[in-house]
Symmetry: C2
Subunit: 198 residues, 2 copies
Amino acid sequence: MGEVTCDITMSLDGYVAGPDQSFAHPLGVGAERLHRWQFEQREANADAVAGILGAGAYIMGRNMFTHGRGEWDLDWHGWWGEEPPYHAPTFVLTHHPREPLPMEGGTTFTFVTDGIAAALVQAREAAGDRRVAIAGGAQTVNQYLAAGLIDELRLHVAPVILGRGERLLDGVGDLDLRAPGDAPGTDLVTHLTYRIRR
Amino acid sequence: MGEVTCDITMSLDGYVAGPDQSFAHPLGVGAERLHRWQFEQREANADAVAGILGAGAYIMGRNMFTHGRGEWDLDWHGWWGEEPPYHAPTFVLTHHPREPLPMEGGTTFTFVTDGIAAALVQAREAAGDRRVAIAGGAQTVNQYLAAGLIDELRLHVAPVILGRGERLLDGVGDLDLRAPGDAPGTDLVTHLTYRIRR
């Protein structure tokens, strides 16, 4: 059975999204700066970028899928255009049942209404021997961490202070983490890969 | 004029001390784990350990000096025995005037009652061309960061989740930070050195 990984970009003060998230500011105000490394230094951070994708299945929270769009809006197909970058089964945690949404390039969004454990069972089945990636956002990652269901947490720490917003690692309890040893990075990001003992 | 540096060990969720600090638990409950790297892996982290000391002068908050002892207790000479590790003038921020306290080995504790800027003026004068180190704790570091008075923040991030306690980087405003590039570390700590543009 594949491992469960999570890649997420975090500010140095622990936020993965800024305050006042909305359709206009899907990451919250000011949080675009967190992701400069992915756009301005894609080659220098090629290994980290590659590691974000390449999973056998993905799980994301409803906020990551909708970001302020009503979940009842069946015309909404996510933020990623007709061919999302996942190219794999992608499970969206939600309270609103909806038919699976097949996209171009192999991504199918499947909406799961019975919780994080059930979503992981489905994602594992879909991924086979490959890993399952928890794609975000903060609340979803924190829930999986608190439940002890993530094997590897890959934090991409940006040299940004947000001051408020959605905090990662909040309410997750006492995790048994192993720091990565030397950590690669640039002036816009440091890549910290933590193993989590169950 | 020397630079102003700050070395501080932080949990992955942003705390430098645990909750319920007292004389019995000077770092707060559970926070001893933050500093395992300094005791168990001193050689593997020799560069980082050496960088914590070696400044021309130090500044610390009253909590770091007293940790629950009354500031009016003139028999209290700090936590470091008769020969503290600083071997340099060390300025303690406090509200209680007190005569300077010379210790063995070159450390003299000088008590400053007129604020962080005044303490920095005195420390710079004492340090000459050498750097001034802000020794902690969280509130003191946050005040100096918010005032834009630190040139280099050396975070030693331990793979520990404290959940609550004293948060670093809280209320410091929007700092202009430059991430370190590759960051050295072990399984118990990652050393992240940030340059701060004024």
